[in-house]
């Protein structure tokens, strides 16, 4: 079951689940209804996803132009920031930031690369290029 009458969401997988929503009516009753989110909620959620997709696209362009390493692209794709990426992968923050440079990234040891692949849940070949 899904509500396709509301075309705010750009991703077709979004907005498929029903949730419990409370409301207060004029007679003083708090009512629970199970239903899809309304238009206002869709607008603000879509705004966040637009923002993330913009960032991902920007990172992709920069990787293809050779300005940053693919780590940046996969970081943005996983909605991470450098600090969370460092916490998640167990590589210290200044090293993570260093690995954003293509020159440094290209001469990394496999041991370090494997830490990134485990974090992003991808294979080594995927890490080295942007699909």
């Amino acid at each position: 079951m899904c509500d396709n009458s509301n075309p705010v969401y750009k991703d077709p997988r979004h907005g498929q689940s029903r949730e419990l929503i409370y409301s207060y009516d004029k007679d003083g009753n708090f009512e629970k209804t199970v239903g899809f989110h309304g238009e206002t909620d869709r607008v603000i959620l879509q705004q966040a996803w637009d923002h993330f997709h913009e960032r991902i696209q920007l990172a992709k362009d920069q990787v293809l132009a050779g300005k940053v390493s693919p780590v940046v692209y996969y970081m943005e794709k996983n909605l991470l920031d450098p600090l969370s990426l460092s916490m998640l992968s167990g590589i210290s923050l200044w090293r993570v930031k260093r690995h954003f440079k293509p020159f440094i990234f290209n001469r990394l040891r496999e041991k370090t690369l494997l830490k990134y692949t485990a974090t992003f849940n991808i294979s080594l070949d995927q890490l080295k290029k942007v699909e």
């Binding site: 997988r13 979004h14 689940s17 419990l20 207060y24 238009e39 603000i44 959620l45 705004q47 966040a48």
Partner: protein
């Protein structure tokens, strides 16, 4: 990994707020009917904090809920229930083993998890938000049975996925936190629990001497909101405003930053204790919640067309200040009620 095959007789109810929903479901398993608003009100789910210098997903941190695990711990404490909370496991495998042992003993166990890797979660919500709560109530082979109050029905999650979400990283990382109920007394003393819960909530919303928490925090944010377009530019201001609205309306709140649920709690306790003042307070809370919803409506219009004149933010700030005044009246009113 040992192979346990147990499915407990656990009834899943959908709820507005993940943790109070989980608490209410856990109480239900032990034969006590504790509705979601009741668990929410007693456990001090209502809260507000605004931390502009801490950024979550590129926007200032705004929270309409209390710290993780407060609702469960306080509602269990105030009701005199014997409950265990394990804050942290260093080793992920040990955390999973502890969960398996609990299931073997027949104890449904609540856990704090991160949302991003929850496979069954609605994709539009899968951001890095680490304060979500789920209850595990069974295991079939490698799959765990999960009751997530956002979803309509119980869900399945594999061993690896569960381990991943229990060790999500970032602000408020769960670190494998788990909690469960050991035993429940035959009768619960609801009256004293309601009194304690209300007193604590009033303190947290009005009494904390720190400008970023409670009603003061709301006013602080309202004043900041007016400055955003000048300080950050329209684009970023709109995104920050969207963050307030998302936290307020979407992330498992049941709407209006839990004000509806708290109003429902005041109403329910008013009918339970035959107290008219509580009923009046619940009416005020309901009206405040409707104001919140109106605020969301205006704000979302702003988010849709990003370049809007700056007066819009001034008006939104005024609206927030008004809401703060309304809320403060409710707290002052319920603080005076003698129960």
């Amino acid at each position: 990994m040992n192979s346990v095959n147990t499915v407990l007789n656990f009834t899943h109810h959908q709820a507005g707020h993940c943790e109070s929903g989980a608490t209410s479901n856990l109480f239900g398993f032990y034969g006590h009917e504790l509705s979601e608003p009741m668990a929410f009100g007693i456990g001090n789910g209502l809260y507000f904090s605004y931390i502009p210098f801490l950024k979550v997903q590129y926007a200032p941190m705004i929270s309409f809920r209390n710290l993780p695990n407060v609702v469960f711990k306080r509602s269990a404490g105030y009701l005199g229930v014997d409950a265990t909370v394990i804050k942290k496991f260093k080793d992920p495998d040990a955390a999973m083993l502890a969960l398996d042992r609990n299931l073997e003993k027949g104890i449904p166990t609540g856990m704090q998890v991160g949302c991003f890797n929850l496979t069954f979660f609605p994709p539009e919500y899968r951001m890095h938000y680490n304060m979500h709560n789920i209850v595990c109530f069974g295991k079939e082979g490698d799959n765990y049975l999960i009751s997530d109050t956002v979803m309509e029905t119980p869900q399945h999650l594999s061993y690896e996925d569960l381990k991943r979400v229990r060790y999500a990283k970032g602000p408020f990382a769960p670190n494998g936190k788990m909690y469960w109920i050991n035993s429940i007394p035959q009768t619960l003393d609801l009256k004293s629990a309601i009194r304690k819960g209300i007193k604590k909530t009033v303190y947290e919303m009005t009494g904390i001497p720190f400008p970023l928490v409670g009603v003061k925090g709301l006013r602080f944010m309202a004043r900041d909101l007016k400055k955003w377009p000048k300080k950050h530019g329209n684009e970023k201001a709109s995104f920050y405003l969207g963050q307030i609205l998302r936290m307020n309306e979407d992330f498992g709140t049941g709407g209006a930053g839990f004000r509806f649920i708290y109003g429902a709690f005041l109403k329910e306790s008013g009918t339970f204790l035959h107290n008219d003042e509580l009923l009046e307070a619940s009416d005020l809370m309901g009206k405040t919640a409707n104001q919140w919803r109106a605020f969301t409506y205006v704000g979302a219009r702003n988010c849709r067309n990003r370049s809007k004149p700056e007066e819009d933010y001034g008006m939104l700030g005024e609206q927030l200040l008004e809401i703060a005044d309304m809320e403060e009246k409710v707290y002052q009113k319920i603080a005076k009620i003698k129960l």
